[in-house]
């Protein structure tokens, strides 16, 4: 869907490239997260995809078409790509309705099509449309503004979304909720999303695919599981931090570890020590600690399918994390 081929960017007046020789591919319907410290070039890559920044070398293709092609008008290109930034950038002199309707109006949609679309979108991102339509951005909370920002980017139903730390400006609780809601939304919308963050935990949570950048170069890319279980170098290890094993357990579904058995130890049933097959393995650990047990039962819906023991988890961590 989106292909970068040896993309370079050297900003005028600078000798050090902001982005150097970056190549990778984002598949349709995937969330690809760029992660790395500030100044690593992740935002520059994002802004090159919609030509807010022009690469100094290499090519970017969207659906097989060069974005740098002379026939591509950058303004028209951007109208086909949703764009969400950390500071949101809502128009302070326009109501929520006018903000969300911005791109449809640029695209000259008929008004009778715009109104229902705006309402539908506001409801989609979890806002009460009637309540906020006529409000100005300053009357909204930070979380509500972010939702309006996402609604605005989705307005013209672009197949691609670029999101630059979209949930960076809100407190951790609201951020977690926005992330969850966005992931649920994405299941229906199946957009191709480029997502920039400096937070590796957000990357692991949101990403189908993670691209790790440092000093303008691509360090490692792969699924969250691949990156957690096999970090390419010390930089990636540092970025992941100390809780690598815990993060791996968050990504592993319990059903992958379950020892299938119908034979439940008595203490599990007594203490009601059960988790669901779709829960992450981390939930098994939490349950063990809470119920003071070294084994939990696993259910698929109402049906009991097996157990996970402390030993199973230890063995799993040793296997996937590779070292010792």
């Amino acid at each position: 869907m989106i292909v970068l081929d040896k993309v370079d960017k050297v900003f005028p007046g600078s000798t050090i490239p902001a982005v150097k020789q970056v190549s990778f591919q984002i598949d349709e319907g995937n969330i690809c997260v760029f992660v790395g410290p500030s100044g690593c070039g992740k935002t520059t890559i994002l802004r090159m995809i919609n030509r807010l920044v022009e690469p100094t070398g290499g090519e970017i293709y969207i659906k097989g078409k060069k974005v740098s092609d002379k026939e591509v008008n950058p303004d028209e290109l951007r109208r086909e790509i949703g764009y969400v930034i950390q500071q949101i950038g809502l128009m302070p002199h326009r109501t929520v309705e006018q903000n969300v309707a911005l791109v449809p109006r640029l695209l000259k949609w008929p008004e009778e099509k715009i109104n229902p679309r705006v309402k539908e979108l506001l409801e989609t991102v979890g806002l009460d449309a009637e309540e906020v339509l006529k409000k100005y951005p300053y009357q909204l909370s930070g979380g509500m503004m972010q939702r309006v920002g996402v609604a605005r980017a989705l307005a013209a139903d672009p197949p691609i979304m670029l999101m630059d730390e979209p949930f960076g400006a809100v407190d951790p609780i609201v951020r977690g909720r926005l992330q969850d809601e966005f992931l649920r939304l994405q299941k229906e919308l199946k957009k191709t999303i480029c997502f920039v963050t400096h937070d590796i935990n957000e990357a692991i949570k949101m990403g189908d695919h993670i691209v790790i950048m440092n000093k303008g170069a691509l360090v490692q890319h792969g699924t969250p599981m691949e990156i957690l279980s096999n970090p390419a170098n010390d930089f990636v290890k540092d970025l992941i931090g100390t809780e690598r094993e815990i993060k791996l357990l968050e990504l592993t579904k319990s059903e992958e570890l379950v020892t299938r058995t119908r034979d439940m130890p008595e203490r599990i049933i007594e203490k009601d020590c059960f988790i669901l097959a779709i829960d992450p393995v981390q939930r098994a650990l939490e349950t063990m600690m809470k119920k003071n047990s070294d084994v939990v039962g696993v259910r698929d819906g109402t049906e009991i399918i097996g157990t996970i023991s402390w030993e199973d988890i230890k063995r799993h961590i040793n296997m996937i994390s590779g070292d010792d």
Binding site: L52, I85, G89
Partner: protein, 215 residues
């Protein structure tokens, strides 16, 4: 100088009105022309490719305001002679700076994230200017126009010295003939003109700008 109420009323009600109309023109024409010039200049100077000329152009506007209008008339006397035109010309130069400075400040003050989002969503440069930059800088621009109007209202009194008419004609007659009534009547009317125009612009500003965006 003595003061007679009857003479004052005559000066205020009979003698002043035609001059007040001239005076209004001496204010409005220069301010409108200055607005067109200053606004265009400030708009261009905030475009990426012209930013480098900002300092030079603003210096010219600054000089325009430091030179007394009378000196401008004196300098351009050989080309423009005496009368209404040189007065309008000098006042226009004088009115430029506050509008240019405020328009520039207003356009520069548009938040970067709003512009970034607007561009990212595919607004053309013109759409950005008319839908984002100008509306958001409007309160500051209007403040500049108001300063310019009040300033020009006072300065326009000097127009009479070169035969440009206006309330200055009444005031200077008062000075020449030691008639306090004329001086006071002329001053009051200039004040009324300045305040009325300022209020009028405030009303326009209120219509153009949403309540929460006021400076």
């Amino acid at each position: 100088m003595d003061f007679e109420m009857e003479r004052f009323m005559t000066a205020l009600l009979d003698r002043s009105p035609p001059h007040a109309l001239e005076h209004l023109q001496l204010v409005l024409i220069p301010v409108v022309i200055a607005f067109l010039i200053a606004f265009t200049a400030a708009m261009l100077l905030t475009r990426e490719r012209y930013v480098k000329y900002t300092d030079r152009v603003m210096t010219i506007f600054n000089i325009g305001q430091t030179i007394p209008p009378l000196a401008v008339i004196a300098v351009f006397f050989p080309f423009l002679g005496l009368g209404r035109e040189p007065a309008l010309f000098a006042l226009t130069i004088y009115a430029l700076l506050p509008i240019a400075r405020n328009t520039l400040a207003g356009l520069k003050g548009v938040p970067g994230d709003v512009k970034e989002a607007a561009r990212g969503m595919g607004m053309t440069e013109w759409e950005m200017l008319f839908k984002v930059e100008i509306p958001l800088s409007m309160p500051v621009v209007m403040a500049g126009i108001k300063i310019s109007v009040v300033l020009t209202s006072g300065t326009a009194a000097l127009g009479a010295l070169v035969g440009g008419g206006g309330m200055g004609a009444v005031i200077f007659a008062g000075i020449d003939f030691f008639r306090a009534e004329l001086i006071i009547a002329g001053t009051i009317i200039i004040g009324v003109i300045a305040i009325t125009l300022d209020r009028l612009l405030t009303v326009i500003d209120n219509i153009l700008t949403p309540q929460h965006m006021k400076v």
